[in-house]
């Protein structure tokens, strides 16, 4: 199977409360925050690797994983780290973050899919900076491919995937024929959440918990793996940026921090001061 994984760099999500807003209110300032791969995209990469290796020890790669990102030259770091964890090739679409919105990202990725013809496109369900949650769905429509968003489990069948999706009411299972677009949720990196036909063939096979880390020799070897750069303009035709952020502001802060000494005081406050019980 050939899998294309889209990655986005985001400001360190574990320090998202440290993002600042410029004094004029027209920009987000993430100075001082480390760039990280969007966690959901890391999960997508992990799922792609799980789908393209067998369940033997040591594991052997069977298939191809191509990673793609959009951004300036510094994003090569993120691609190299994906190559070190096991991806085979990388593509960077040259642009600045300010040139992009979900619509243009999907258009650019469609051009990459047209050229690469993967069996499966895996993405994180959303990027944790913009929290927009649209690129996978848009890409599926542009390609006229079936999609499964918010995937918690993936099981490979002949020419299709059985995908368990976490929806509001429970776990919904879809069967999508390949080629398809799948966006992944948190639970996709649990030990028994992704099974390729090869790993299904190994009784009792389980993956490690969470995403894998690259061993040092792989980090060195990744420097030699192919990384192509393509200009954004070549991929999106004449399409122009349509989403304009005009202003940012900080949400009102809560005035919390009060303590109660015991449950009796807690219940008394809830009943008589806040009047919520």
């Amino acid at each position: 199977m050939k899998v294309l994984v889209a990655l986005k760099r985001v400001a360190d999500p574990d320090n998202a409360n440290k993002v600042r807003i410029s004094p004029s209110g027209d920009a987000i300032d993430t100075t001082g925050l480390e760039w990280k791969t969007n966690p959901f995209d890391e999960y997508a990469l992990e799922a792609a690797l799980r789908l393209t290796e067998n369940g033997k020890a040591p594991k052997k790669r069977e298939g191809e994983v191509v990673v793609v990102t959009l951004g300036p030259k510094e994003c090569d770091t993120l691609l190299r780290s994906a190559l070190a964890t096991g991806a085979d090739r990388a593509i960077r679409i040259e642009c600045t973050d300010a040139e992009l919105d979900g619509r243009l990202v999907a258009l650019a990725l469609k051009a990459i899919v047209d050229a690469e013809k993967p069996d499966l496109i895996l993405l994180g369900k959303q990027a944790v900076d913009g929290d927009s949650n649209q690129v996978g769905q848009r890409l599926a429509e542009l390609l006229d491919y079936p999609m499964a968003t918010f995937a918690a489990t993936i099981k490979e069948e002949d020419g299709a995937l059985l995908v368990g999706r976490e929806v509001d009411g429970g776990l919904l299972t879809l069967r999508v024929k390949l080629p398809a677009v799948v966006t992944v949720d948190l639970r996709i990196v649990s030990p028994s959440s992704v099974y390729s036909k090869l790993t299904q063939a190994e009784p009792g096979f389980k993956h490690g918990d969470g995403v894998r880390f690259a061993p040092l020799p792989a980090i060195m070897a990744a420097k030699k793996k192919p990384l192509d750069v393509k200009p954004l303009g070549d991929l999106v035709g004449g399409a122009k940026l349509a989403t304009q952020y005009v202003k940012f502001e900080r949400p009102p802060q809560r005035a919390g921090g009060a303590k109660v000494k015991d449950v009796a005081e807690l219940v008394e406050k809830l009943a008589n001061v806040s009047k919520v019980i």
């Binding site: 999500p13 993002v19 949650n133 968003t149 509001d168 952020y245 940012f248 219940v267 806040s274």
Partner: protein
Amino acid sequence: MSDALVIAELSEDGKLKKSTLSAITFAQRALPALGGSFSILVLGASPAAAASELTGYGAAKVLTCADPAFAQYTAEQFTATVAAVGKGFGLIVATATSFGKDLLPRVAARLDAAYAGDCAGVQAEGGKLVYKRPMFAGNAYGYCTLGTPIQVATARQSELDAAAPSGGSSPIESVAKVAPAAAAARVEFVSLEAVKSARPELGEARVIVSGGRALKDKFMEVLEPLADALGAALGASRAAVDAGYAPGDFQVGQTGKIVAPQLYVAIGISGAIQHIAGMKGSKVIVAINKDPEAPIFQLADYGLVADLFTAVPALLTELKKRA
């Protein structure tokens, strides 16, 4: 001048989901910039009952499209019809449930429209719609405009009050199903393991009792009696869900459910940024945690530093005394 189209969401058994009413509120707030009216589109196997329920909200029209192919939602089946009807509107909006977030970006792509997801609000400025979006795990609001002739948005349920019936009776009009694109034949609904619960849904609950990893395998045993006593929905932190102590659809947080109940009781939850993003809009927050340094306490209106395994039963006893 243009109009807004609200996409209604039906439950598995074809009933109108209350979440739809938040999208109606959003459309109503967008009208000053659009200058027109709003209509509602209901797709389903037999949407008549839901459609007639929707006639009392001041819509210009309630449009229905009945087809057996709509009995079970897939984005691939719905997109062509929603886009074909939506083409006549300036704004297409649904509530940002797992249905709205799945369908609307796909519809937007079909119409080459820009999309503003999970909006906390919308306002008219200089004749344009300005969408208010929580970003960076709720640590910033971004205000954006969309530059395409048709605009598509989803509305965050916890930020937009359910529309109240305004009387009147909108005319119901049926529209033809549009044949879906090829992708529809390549996706198949297999099953839905629905969580059956007598408790209120997280998105609509007045009170939520939410637990963290500290509960271990006593999650249900400890929290259910408290939830029952408070008439509360049950929620969980990501850590509790990942550890298998609570099901996935309990998860409250940036990437789980975003909630804003009257009372949120966080038990054994430390308060990671991602969790706080999902509940900080709650009116009153209670935190019970034995670690006095847990970040959740900075947010809580009432913090109780205590071992949850003794504090929760004691709280239950205290509540029963008052009942």
